[in-house]
């Protein structure tokens, strides 16, 4: 188990190192740099000013030096400064992180609350028609861009029904009621974007578990269908669906960028969109790396958790050395 954990942690760190190189290089390949944005609307900016700006930002140094300066800071928790506000990137992230975590957490909870009944009820009722209807809505949900869902919800619930606030943000610590009012529509939008994926994973998992022999045995013993579903199929189907959590986190992060834009939600998504527009390298690099790290860590935790819950996976890494038909004979012969 220790070897398995170490290998997974090592491969995760390697992956993060590769991502850091990739994002660093990709940004340098984009046309323009932070000085472009500063100059674009400034009157009479001199070549000396441009040179100084590039020097101050370290952009006059070789790429390898720039990368080393950045990554060596990241290792000790220093993500650098925004080229525009001069605020530490860690502060900018700290300012925005609560909003994104609130949104993503609420959306995930809502998505699970939507996905589980949608996947289970057709099976429970053994209704083919209900499953078909569900599939149509799932396909629709997968095909509809999240910003379209967001704008439609704003138009209907905020502008037409006047039920919720269309945009804005308040912290729960400052004003819980207002915070909830602001949260409902963006969280619902994001949940609608990820719930169809969860439904698909659950449906696939439920189908394979429903066909398992222990389900047949349970039915053969006279257990009712409802109890078979709730006590045997669903609990066993949730375990494989755990693996989708890593991918769901990726979708959450991607979707939150769009949802934050539609609802003026002051989270990391908006921060990174602004930073990309301005080529604020330090901010973009830090957020992308942290998002990748979140994705990798969740995947790692899920893998490890899965390994704990399903012992077969713990020994799977030793499969190459596991005795196989015919191998034993060779080993014996060679030992002789």
């Amino acid at each position: 188990m220790l070897v398995y954990v170490l290998k997974r942690v090592g491969s995760s760190l390697l992956l993060l190192a590769l991502i850091s190189i990739l994002i660093f290089m990709a940004l340098r390949l984009l046309p323009g740099d932070p000085t472009t944005f500063s100059l674009a609307q400034g009157d009479g900016v001199s070549p000396e000013a441009l040179e100084k700006m590039r020097r101050d930002l370290g952009l006059d140094q070789p790429l390898l030096v720039q990368y080393w300066n950045w990554i060596s800071g990241v290792v000790v928790g220093d993500f650098g400064f925004s080229y525009f506000s001069n605020f530490p990137v860690s502060l900018l992230i700290a300012q925005r992180l609560p909003a994104t975590v609130t949104l993503a957490g609420a959306a995930l909870a809502l998505a699970i609350a939507i996905a589980v009944p949608v996947a289970v009820v057709p099976l429970w009722l053994r209704s083919v028609w209900l499953e078909r209807i569900t599939n149509v809505f799932v396909a629709l949900g997968l095909a509809t861009p999240v910003f379209v869902i967001g704008i439609l919800l704003v138009l209907f619930f905020a502008n037409f029904l006047n039920l919720f606030t269309g945009s804005g943000y308040a912290a729960f610590t400052d004003n819980p009621a207002a915070a909830l009012g602001f949260l409902v529509l963006p969280a619902f939008t994001l949940s609608l974007a990820i719930a169809p994926q969860l439904v698909r994973y659950l449906q696939g998992s439920i189908r394979s578990v429903a066909a398992a022999t222990f389900v047949r045995t349970a039915r053969g013993k006279g257990i009712g269908w409802g109890r078979t579903v709730s006590n045997h199929i669903v609990p066993n189907a949730l375990l494989p669906a755990l693996t989708s959590l890593g991918i769901t986190v990726g979708s959450l992060l991607g979707g939150s960028v769009v949802v934050e834009a539609v609802f003026a939600w002051p989270g990391l998504g908006q921060l990174v969109v602004d930073a990309v527009a301005k080529r604020d390298y330090a901010v973009i690099q830090a957020i992308v790396l942290l998002a990748a790290a979140a994705f990798v860590v969740v995947t790692l935790i899920v893998d490890l958790l899965y390994g704990v819950l399903d012992p077969r996976l713990r020994v799977s890494t030793n499969r190459a050395r596991a005795p196989r038909f015919g191998d034993t004979t060779i080993t014996k012969e060679s030992s002789v």
Binding site: N159, G166, S167
Partner: protein, 523 residues
Amino acid sequence: MARSKSKRHVLMGTLAAFAVVVLAACATSDGTPEASTDSIAEESAQNRVVTVGQNPGISQLNPNVSTLSSERVMWNLLWDGLTTQSEGTEVQPELATEWTTSEDGLTWTFSLREDVTFHDGRAFVADDVVKTIMFVLEPENASPQRSKLNNVVNVVALDDATVELTLDVATPQLPAALVDVKIFDVDNSDTINETGNGTGPFVLEGFVPDQELSVLPNENYWGEVPVIEGIKVVKYADQVAARAALESGTIDIIWSVAFDQVSSLIEAGLTTVVPQNPSQASAFVLDNASPPFDDPRARQALSYAIDRVTMQAVAFGGLGELNFGSTLVSPKNEYFAPDEVIDYSYDLDKAKELFNEAGVVEGTTLLCWAGDMAPQYRAQCEVLQQSLAEIGITLDIEVNEGSTWAARFYPAGKEYGGLIVPNYLSREPAPLPFVVSYFGVDGWSETNWPANAEYEDVKARVKSVTATEDIRSAFADFQRITSEEQPVVVVMNVAQPSISRPDLGGLWMEFNGTIHVEGAVIQ
């Protein structure tokens, strides 16, 4: 029994979820449960925090290094200048009470207010003016205000309440040049984004870069203390989100509304805020130093090929003033000289003839290089594409995000021959002399136009003359030269409007698009 207990849990959970949703729906933006219509009306009649929605946001607070027009909204909230501009474009005293100039016009003496303090309580003195102006003049600080003060060679504090500026060339419009130079705490400029320490009518309450700026009235302000409870400037991702927020009452003002949205917003009962004397111009920027637009005939041909009327209708929602003379002086400006400019009304025959003379023949392909910041850029390219197709010239269109767009032709000196760049230029209106500095020696125009000796002479005249007739004559020559040479091809003069809720008063906009909300009142 177990099943009924489970059902009860499900039922209770459903009811709890419903209660949460109802509570959320009833919560207003300030967190209080939604009140009756009467109490809402009562609240709106009272003073409250005014919220401005805009895109892009405010990245930093130093008014003397600011480069984004969206940051200008905070200039008049947190800061004061020596001088200020009135709604009628007249220059008035602000931190300076009065000023005098020597007979040769080279020495200016400003008397300062003595009852002014910074937000941190420190007294404002002449040394603050000296340090601010020195900061602006330092080339490495990249201050956008520097180009207006490039004739200042020395600045000294004569005493705590008097400042003297020495110039190398007489500059009658120096007080106007100082309007945008906001006095700040230079010694503590490294903490400016945390303190916003100025002398303005509002003090900083909170600042999240590119997201939200909130300010409160400065109770110790030397002038009239603002009557509203505060101002928030909130960044919106796009026009659709901002409009939805305005219509639902979350924000009170949208700064810089897309042209195609304006008419429907007015129909919805909202109010526009536009400058009295707009100087902003929609123009096509060309590389005047590279083929084919290094030939003035090619630039003139392009000017004739622009269907300004269609462009106004399609790209600008019918707003603005068409500029057939194609110069940076608006036809509505009192110094506009119609007899000096060429009439570039839509004429494809002339365009074709001039293009041929310049070697731009049928089958040539050009590229319209648009930014995605404003929808009118693409629309302008499309109108031009149709016109040029009629004379056998292909115009490809590329739309890029802001930095990619700007990196192709900013700063001055870059080669981008064959590109036609729709842009939005904000230059000061005549008789302010700063527009002439855009071109020629010491100019920063990205058009790379090699201005001739005559232009430099006109530039010097525009900057130094004081009599109205002399100003008129100098500006007439400026228009004649730039209309002939077409360093930029101007389409029209149009101000990017802002929109406010009808119950807001006291808002106005400078000619360059800077919105003034410091005097906002709820009516």
